[in-house]
């Protein structure tokens, strides 16, 4: 195939911006076909994400677990692993956290057996351990069982959701009621504190930012990060050069599981205050999109994750203000990702190289 001369050799930013502009045109077309005005829809979605303190709080509440998942996925992606099991790791973390809270605040009790801040902290730790277990299970299947991590992860996602549903409809069901709305909400003393009357919790945001900062440092400044990338680029060569490949792979699953499990625990103590069947809220999948979009570079995760959180929250305006199907937001999200990748690919292939 010959390179089309007219579009070759331009600055890389040209392709990326061009792709973004084309994606906006596509989005506008789709909104028009749905029977609404693109400008009003986008304006309303921005207003729906940042219009008042509640909405900003919700964007932050979505951002926090998303940052944790995205940060965790940086390790597995850099190790060459497609950890689609991150959803299950969030769910199992949430199950573990719920278990801990049910132990320290048994049904029928009038107060927590432990001081509430300690109980919440323990729940987050136990959630992290749950995520690690689920992550390592996928890792072991991959490393020792030679099962593709994609299928191992997907299978374990179904298993984790199945366990959550079993618990919600079975041993942990509300008194007299088994319902998809989840387990009995925890006592308010076991809820994470929030910024004012919003749903954003400083602890969740702090943990998300901390995980991201930690990841940036590890990936850029440590020997561990370097070895992880070496394993990701060429597993065999890394092994031959003396990098303990198995240990590296399992470490990546360990860290990703830990962060995802903490995210799951935060969904329980900070967001839903109970276990619900879809406790992960698809944030793991959203995290995968974010990390792939930033080309596995943790430096860009914060703005991209923030953008997707805002899109996620703002999309509620679609049914509310326009009577549009809110899954249209998924289409918008998908188009942005697709065109960003196309732009990235074109920039790499045809973009002017430094020194040209």
């Amino acid at each position: 195939m010959t390179t089309p001369a007219r579009i070759a050799g331009l600055p890389p930013a040209f392709y990326r911006v061009g792709a973004f502009v084309i994606s906006l045109i596509f989005i506008a077309l789709i909104v028009l076909i749905s029977g609404a005005s693109p400008v009003t829809v986008i304006g309303s979605m921005v207003g729906g994400a940042f219009g008042n303190a509640d909405q900003i709080g919700r964007v932050i509440a979505t951002l926090s677990p998303l940052l944790l998942c995205a940060a965790g996925l940086v390790y597995t992606f850099n190790a060459g692993l497609y950890n689609l099991g991150v959803e299950g790791q969030i769910t199992f973390g949430a199950i573990a956290a719920t278990w801990l809270l049910r132990v320290v605040y048994p049904e029928g009790a009038t107060a927590s057996l432990l001081p509430p801040p300690l109980a919440i902290a323990l729940a987050i730790v136990v959630g992290g351990i749950g995520g690690v277990l689920w992550g390592l299970l996928a890792g072991a299947l991959h490393v020792y069982g030679r099962i593709s991590e994609i299928f191992a992860g997907l299978g374990l996602n179904f298993a984790a959701t199945g366990i959550a549903i079993y618990l919600i409809f079975g041993p942990w069901k509300r008194p007299g009621v088994a319902s998809l709305s989840g387990t009995q909400p925890f006592d308010e003393s076991l809820w994470l504190g929030t910024f004012g009357n919003t749903e954003a919790t400083p602890v969740a945001l702090g943990l998300g930012l901390l995980a991201l900062a930690f990841t940036i440092i590890v990936m850029r400044n440590t020997y561990f990060g370097l070895r992880l990338r070496a394993v990701g680029r060429n597993l065999r060569a890394a092994y031959v050069l003396g990098v303990p490949a198995r240990r590296q792979l399992l470490s990546a699953f360990f860290i990703c599981g830990l962060f995802a499990g903490v995210a799951g625990a935060l969904q329980v103590v900070g967001m839903f205050h109970r276990l619900i069947p879809n406790i992960s809220s698809n944030l793991g999948f959203l995290g995968l999109l974010v990390v792939m979009l930033v080309n596995f570079d943790p430096l860009w995760i914060l703005p991209v994750a923030f953008f997707f959180s805002a899109l996620n929250i703002g999309s509620l305006q679609l049914p509310l203000s326009f009577g549009l199907e809110s899954s249209l937001a998924g289409v918008i999200q998908g188009l942005l990702v697709l065109f960003a990748l196309i732009g990235h690919g074109l920039a790499q292939k045809y973009g002017r190289k430094p020194g040209e």
Binding site: T40, L84, G176, A178, L180, L286, L289, L316, P319
Partner: protein, 415 residues
């Protein structure tokens, strides 16, 4: 690098497909708002009184959810200055990461003075919203937090409950099912198990048993009344049992009448197919007035909700500033069940019932209305054989509302 890029693209497609599959199950129909949506820039000649409605399923589901939308339309017809804003499919499968209370916040931010939650599953959200917005009237349809004599009373003055007293409606449905059955095998496709669904299923059983024995003069031992719970009010692929399969199992398992107790029309649709394949089967619909139109020749009847009058009263009081959080268990108008201005539920007989059975059913309805037929009366045992009501004892509202088990003689889990 090339393979890696392909892997990235492949994984992206897979993730995208999974995410969209999780976000929007194929069963969910797109929302078609029946009322004009808010136009933020519309000139406000006269400020409308905005009522928000948080709906658990699709608003055009020909079932529970659409019945609420019809109630809202009734209010708008009677009070042109009232405008409803709807958000449907507010459940964790259709809208992950969205809570009912968040939707209510949005509706209130848009000016809603009354917010209605239309499902039992919203009890926590309704309470949270009422606490957060003490100047907004919050109505939780089907709940009991505002019932002072109830088990779960919460002292929250701006939170009220409205529920139709549908138990007699279920008795009529059960009676029609028994009258329409030849072999006495009646199956019910049930939603999830809670107090509401237990008392409804039990009411249907009581109605079926009464009519089987008293009108058909058949041996009660010949009556098999089985319920299979799918796990939610409608199908969520991979999470609930598939109601299509459950209905098919009944039709293929020799049950000649299947009753629907869920929000969506699978029982009717599969019944039609079974009848077309030559099976002598009939169905009984629920929730939606037009339920018999799905398969008119094999429909025994439908009991449907009429939320209009109940909502009208609450909204009139809210507008006047006189509404106080109360628990309302709205009664039917026995003089005319299908009076949309007065009755909390209605009943429409289907073609498959037949003229003779219609007369018997009318007799049964008359008896329920004038109190000569009272089925919540002892002796009645629970499913496990323990005594529920002693000889001559009448169940209180609390005993009926919080029914802890199915009744003796019914098949299917109580918990």
């Amino acid at each position: 690098m090339k393979t890696n890029r392909f892997k990235v693209l492949g994984a992206l497609l897979l993730v995208g497909a999974l995410a969209s599959a999780c976000a929007a199950p194929p069963a969910a129909a797109p929302a078609q708002p029946t009322a004009p949506a808010a136009e933020p820039t519309a000139p406000a000649a006269e400020q409308p009184f905005i009522v928000g409605m948080v709906i658990v399923g699709p608003m055009n589901d020909k079932g529970w959810n659409e019945a609420h939308v019809l109630g809202a339309q009734y209010v708008m017809e009677k009070m042109p200055n009232v405008k409803f804003e709807f958000v449907d499919k507010v459940n964790p499968a259709d809208r992950p990461n969205v809570k009912g209370s968040q939707v209510a916040d949005e509706l209130i931010a848009k000016g809603a003075k009354v917010v209605i939650f239309n499902s039992d599953d919203f009890k926590d959200d309704a309470l949270e919203t009422a606490k957060k917005h003490p100047n907004v009237v919050v109505i939780h349809a089907s709940g009991d937090y505002a019932w002072k004599e109830g088990k779960n009373y919460k002292n929250q003055p701006n939170l009220g409950n409205l529920m139709t007293k549908m138990e007699p409606g279920w008795m009529i449905a059960g009676c029609a099912a028994a009258l329409g059955s030849e072999n006495g095998k009646i199956g019910t496709v049930g939603p999830l198990i809670n107090e509401e669904t237990r008392r409804y299923a039990s009411s249907a059983y009581l109605g079926a048993k009464y009519c089987w024995e008293n009108y058909k003069k058949r041996d009660p031992k010949e009556l098999q009344f089985k319920i299979t719970w799918i796990g939610f009010w409608f199908n969520i692929p991979g999470v609930t049992l598939d109601p299509t399969k459950v209905a098919d199992d009944f039709y293929n398992g020799g049950f000649d009448v299947v009753m629907s107790a869920i929000d969506t029309p699978e029982v009717a649709v599969q019944g039609k197919k079974a009848a077309e394949a030559g099976k002598a089967v009939k169905y009984h619909h629920y929730n939606y007035k037009g339920g018999c139109e799905l398969a008119p020749d094999i429909c025994l009847g439908v009991h449907y909700y009429n939320w209009g009058p109940g909502y009208l009263k609450i909204i009139q009081e809210a507008m006047a500033g006189t509404y106080k959080g109360t628990w309302t268990w709205a009664e039917a108008d026995w003089s005319n069940l299908n009076n949309r201005d007065t009755s909390s539920f209605g009943y429409i007989k289907g073609n498959a019932l037949g003229a003779e059975n219609e007369k018997l059913l009318d007799q049964f309805i008359k008896g329920l209305g004038d109190g000569s037929i009272d089925l919540w009366k002892g002796p009645l045992n629970f499913q496990d054989g323990t005594v529920f009501l002693k000889e001559g004892e009448r169940a209180t509202d609390q005993q009926i509302w919080y029914l802890p088990q199915l009744l003796e003689g019914m098949e299917g889990p109580s918990q």
